[in-house]
């Protein structure tokens, strides 16, 4: 017998009661949105998988703090973004430390390892190198511009939804996206000239 999926309110109630089936539905419904958002921000499939698991565990352990003012998806996107940005900051600190160690050490083997070039797994254009350059450029954007761009372009959220997730106004999202595009043009024109 086919059981219809629970509505958001029913799902939250069932989750708060710790129902196994509800947890499964919760993960199945939102896993690709959470994973795709994280992947766009951290640009590593391995890290995105780990972080997406963390996001669901965090969400399940803090269900009591969910007030129902926002949609479940909005709440999950916020946890996913915060988790990703924290991860990026940690990684940058590690990278800076590794760089300091490497400049104090002449050994060639101790050089800072460079991340492999990332391109989104669903990138359809034939020219993968262009895709790599685009994601490399996205990675250089300021935190808020990058978040707005990933939510709007990679995740396909509307301006309104992006504004809700980022807890800001639609006009501010528009401005972030405009500046992101201008900056991407600057960065990419340098790459394409090379």
């Amino acid at each position: 017998m086919h059981i219809p999926p629970l509505t958001d309110t029913e799902l939250i109630e069932a989750l708060q009661q710790g129902e196994r089936q509800a947890v499964q539905q919760f993960i199945d419904t939102y896993k690709s949105r959470v994973y795709n958002t994280i992947l766009g921000l951290v640009q590593s499939a391995e890290d995105a998988e780990e972080l997406a698991q963390d996001v669901f565990l965090k969400a399940l352990s803090t269900l009591s703090s969910f007030e129902g003012k926002a949609q479940i998806s909005t709440w999950l996107y916020r946890i996913a973004i915060n988790t990703s940005l924290d991860h990026i900051k940690k990684k940058q600190r590690k990278k800076r430390f590794a760089f300091l160690v490497s400049i104090n050490n002449d050994d060639e083997n101790s050089a800072v390892p460079q991340l492999p070039h990332f391109v989104h797994p669903e990138w359809q254009l034939e020219n993968k190198e262009l895709g790599q350059n685009l994601f490399k450029a996205i990675n250089q954007l300021a935190e808020k511009q990058k978040t707005a761009l990933v939510l709007n372009k990679v995740e396909g959220l509307s301006y309104e939804q992006t504004a809700q997730v980022m807890e800001t106004t639609v006009s501010s999202v528009e401005s972030l996206l405009f500046r992101a595009r201008q900056n991407l043009k600057k960065i990419l024109s340098n790459y394409l000239e090379k």
Binding site: S32, A48, Q53, E122, Q124, K153
Partner: protein
């Protein structure tokens, strides 16, 4: 610049990336285990803890050995005990 605009806009039609096939199962297992991620403890952490314990043990032995050299008389007889235990003449001191 038009090409760059087109490149940026090509993100619009991108399909959603999917996590691994057993993603739900993995999260369910961790949730059932109390929300704790089952991660192996890094070797570096194990060595750091072992080294710290060894250092504390060595420090404990060293400090303990130092206490053995304190004459027991001092504990029994107070200041006078210390003076006499070190072979000093008490008449040299005025109280």
């Amino acid at each position: 610049m038009d090409n760059i605009d087109k490149l940026i806009d090509s993100l619009d039609g991108i399909e959603k990336a999917q996590p691994s096939a057993n993603f739900t199962q993995k999260v369910m297992q961790q949730w059932e285990a109390g929300g704790k991620k089952l991660k192996a403890i890094p070797k570096r952490t194990v060595w750091a803890v072992a080294a710290s314990l060894a250092f504390l043990l060595a420090l404990n032995v060293w400090v303990g050995a130092g206490y053995k050299n304190v004459p027991s008389q001092s504990a029994q007889n107070g200041a006078y005990g210390v003076v006499s235990a070190y072979g000093l003449n008490s008449s040299e001191f005025s109280y």
